[in-house]
């Protein structure tokens, strides 16, 4: 291989565009930017990380969906049942929580941007979201109670087994979202909230909505 070395280039190295960049990924650093500054301009890992996490959760529920389809496919013991009506109310509550979260996000953004805010603390909408989240979980618990009142327990039938597994796993993931929400509120009250933390939490929360609607449709069709 014919290779030669030239004296050090004053500024432009081969393949390095005007010595700028944070590694070529969403190149946002001004030319000649300090490497330290590059870190500040690099995409916040939390914004990537949350989508990576969402991908993992999608895989988990995709696996369970395929399990449901396979298990139901060859089953002679599958018993259909009607979903408790409170689930539809719960869905409305969860959707409302996404709306309140978006309102909160706008208020916090205005607050962080130095715009004037009329009215109360921006965290009140976050508290509303948190409350609606807990209300949803309480509603899910009531749905379980209604099913068990009909004699449908976890092991009664594969259809009820899948119902409990899906709703419980979704609830566990939602609890994670509620924990993240309490952290956001705490940081906001301490004035140390970073925008990316709020955004990542909001993305996750909305994903929980979408996931629940998917699960509801799946359970409605298959159970």
């Amino acid at each position: 291989m014919a290779t030669t070395i030239h004296p050090p280039a004053s500024r432009v190295a081969r393949g390095l565009k005007n010595a700028s960049g944070n590694g070529g990924w969403r190149n946002l650093v001004p030319a000649g930017g300090d490497p330290r500054a590059a870190q500040e301009y690099a995409p916040p890992p939390a914004s990537t990380g949350i989508w990576v996490f969402v991908a993992a959760v999608c895989m988990t529920f995709a696996a369970l969906t395929s399990a449901l389809v396979v298990r139901k496919g060859g089953a002679l013991d599958w018993r259909h049942f009607t979903l408790p009506y409170i689930l539809y109310l719960n869905t409305a509550v969860l959707l409302a929580s996404s709306v309140t979260l978006e309102v909160a996000r706008r208020q916090v953004a205005a607050f962080m941007g130095g715009l004037e805010i009329t009215g109360a603390n921006p965290s009140r909408w976050l508290y509303a979201t948190l409350s609606l989240g807990f209300l949803f979980l309480a509603g899910q618990y009531l749905a379980w109670r209604q099913l068990s009142a009909q004699g449908l327990y976890l092991a009664t039938n594969p259809s009820s087994s899948f119902f409990y597994v899906f709703t419980a796993l979704h609830a566990v993931h939602l609890l994670g979202g509620l924990y993240a929400m309490t952290r956001v509120i705490r940081k906001l009250n301490q004035h140390v909230l970073r925008r990316v933390t709020l955004d990542a939490t909001a993305h996750y929360w909305h994903f929980m909505d979408v996931l629940w609607i998917y699960l509801l449709a799946l359970l409605w069709m298959k159970l």
Partner: protein, 594 residues
């Protein structure tokens, strides 16, 4: 040689308390070492189990002194029962696959070196990283705890096929609590690996330093990145499968147990579950798992080969594309583990085709390695020897894979030792050689001391010959229809094969004993080895541009700036034959791709 020891020191002081520094550390380097230690412990346990099993296979009624201490019921009079053999086999497979082959090349080396190789101070989520290790550790404790419950560990094999795995203690010793511990341990393990993968992916995408474009990342970084994507998707499937398995045990559900199953004259209280469902869920994880073990080893071997051959590989990009191709195809081939499961034969053909296709990227990688050897100025040190050894093992294991990929041949060979020989070569031993190569190569950077090269070479040659003595005869046994998973060979047609088993047992004990040389070298060098320079191998990537060992923040307060592709070896007109990634000199190289 670049020596930064004089000027580099951590700009941010690390924790000084013992607990924060060595136990619940947030530092990716400490976490990497913790993973390595866990893998070493697991490897010793796994190897001990294989010794005991091999002795039993060679001399079935031989009393192994002290074995009753491990299990009073499983080894009365120090002779193991047939069930206990299966229990040990299960634990050997599980511990080796999960806690050694996944943990060492991916989690241990990846944690330590991925952030350094991309020029980051740490992973973006250090708390998740710490949790990832400790969750894995808890999972290991739960798994090993199964040895000490009354019935012992599960006997259903590391694949845990249903319904055997799902019906509780009626299925045999270890299928009650031991089985629940197995499934719980693996579910916990999945959480640990998901947290680790999350960190690996975000570090690679978002934490790269200035100038470190994707194509400037070393092949190890690429391998860990690709592996973490596989890990994220594969472990996310295994976890719910384990949850369903646990529910079949403790809650009486019927996900995997068919109806009217009679066991020990008892009708099982389950209705209409699908046994194949478990196999689908398990192998959707299980086959990518094979590549989770081997792709990091491929990256490590490529990385080391270039430093020892003193030239870039024929193609950096094709190798990355091939590793990516393997990752994508790994999800489409899992059904080849199920050719004899009673699955529709058309499905077998559908899975056989991509299985044959996946050999193409694997072959391309091997050909790139082999062709790069030609005309190189090879430095035949221990890391180089183990890298070449890994290539040898991978080729040997890969060739037997061609046979097994075809359903018509697999039907004959599936339940025999041929498969045991195949997967031990292609996945276990080749990944182990990758781990050894990585250890000898990176030990100076991890601990600041050199390992003894002479002992390393002795370790290599004895391990290399030993591994072939153990696993090559397995192919012969398989072709002679020696069924696997049998604890004793009492049938007429199997008895003439017992001498072969005894030969394998002796080879296994000797090769296992040889590993003591490695452990001695590891421990002795850690404390009394020759102090390591910053760049002992005259290598080019970022880990060699910092001190040995690196300071707390990896680069002493100033993040490096990257100017070159990772493997600028074989440079002419220079005092040295390499240019580091951080060297600002302008290079024009014809062999350069990116």
């Amino acid at each position: 040689m670049h020596d930064m020891s004089a000027q580099a020191h951590a700009a941010h002081a690390g924790p000084t308390g013992f607990i924060r520094k060595h136990v619940f550390s947030l530092d990716h380097k400490v976490i990497g070492k913790q993973y390595y230690g866990l893998a070493l412990l697991a490897a010793i346990i796994g190897m001990f189990l294989s010794w005991v099993m091999r002795i039993h296979l060679g001399w079935t009624n031989f009393a192994i002194p002290g074995l009753h201490l491990l299990s009073k019921n499983g080894a009365p009079g120090d002779v193991m029962t047939p069930e206990y053999y299966l229990q040990l086999m299960t634990m050997h497979g599980t511990i080796m696959v999960f806690f050694v082959l996944t943990t060492a090349p991916f989690a241990a080396f990846g944690n330590f070196f991925l952030p350094i190789q991309v020029g980051a101070e740490d992973m973006p989520f250090p708390r998740f990283n710490m949790m990832s290790f400790w969750v894995t550790f808890v999972s290991f404790i739960v798994m090993v705890a199964a040895f000490f419950v009354p019935d012992g560990p599960s006997l259903a094999g590391w694949t845990q096929y249903a319904p055997l795995s799902a019906i509780g203690s009626a299925a045999g010793p270890g299928q009650g609590l031991g089985e629940v511990l197995w499934a719980s341990s693996i579910a916990i393990f999945c959480i640990g690996q998901l947290l680790g993968s999350l960190n690996f992916i975000t570090t690679t995408l978002d934490m790269r330093t200035k100038g470190m474009s994707l194509w400037r990342m070393p092949l190890t970084t690429w391998a860990w990145f690709i592996t973490s994507i596989m890990g994220l998707t594969a472990f996310a499937v295994l976890m719910p499968a384990c949850i369903l398995l646990i529910l079949d045990h403790v809650a009486g559900t019927s996900f995997f147990v068919p109806s009217n199953l009679v066991l020990n004259d008892q009708v099982q209280p389950h209705s209409g579950g699908s046994t194949l469902l478990w196999q689908h869920l398990f192998w959707f994880f299980g086959h990518p798992e094979v590549y989770i073990a081997i792709v990091p080893a491929m990256g490590i071997v490529s990385h080391i080969l270039m430093a020892t051959l003193r030239r870039p590989l024929l193609s950096h990009r094709v190798l990355v594309y091939s590793m990516g191709g393997i990752a994508v195809l790994s999800y489409m081939v899992y059904g080849h583990h199920m050719f004899v499961s009673g699955m529709n034969p058309i499905s077998s053909i559908a899975f056989s085709f991509p299985t044959l296709i996946i050999t193409i990227p694997a072959t391309i990688i091997v050909l790139i390695w082999l062709a790069s050897l030609y005309g190189s100025k090879m430095r035949l040190n221990t890391p180089c020897l183990f890298s070449l050894g890994m290539i040898s093992m991978f080729i040997t294991g890969g060739v037997s894979g061609f046979f097994l990929a075809q359903p018509s041949l697999d039907i004959m060979l599936h339940a025999t030792y041929f498969v045991v020989g195949h997967f031990h070569f292609v996945m276990a031993v080749s990944a182990m050689f990758g781990i050894f190569a990585g250890t000898y190569f990176w030990f100076p950077k991890m601990f600041g001391r050199m390992m003894n090269d002479t002992l390393g070479k002795i370790h290599f040659w004895l391990s290399f010959v030993g591994a072939y003595c153990i696993f090559m005869p397995f192919h012969y046994l398989g072709l002679a229809s020696n069924v696997r998973r049998y604890q004793a060979f009492t049938d007429d047609y199997l008895q003439p094969l017992i001498p072969v088993h005894r030969f394998i047992t002796i080879a296994a004990i000797c090769t296992g004993a040889v590993q003591l040389i490695f452990i001695y070298n590891l421990v002795h060098s850690r404390f009394w080895g020759k102090p390591a320079p910053d760049n002992p191998w005259e290598a080019t990537s970022l880990e060699w541009s910092t001190t040995s060992p690196p300071p707390f923040d990896n680069f002493g307060g100033t993040l490096p700036v990257v100017y070159h592709d990772p493997y600028q070896y074989g440079i002419e007109d220079s005092t040295s034959d390499y240019v580091m990634q951080t060297d600002p000199r302008n290079i024009q190289s014809q062999g350069d791709e990116a």
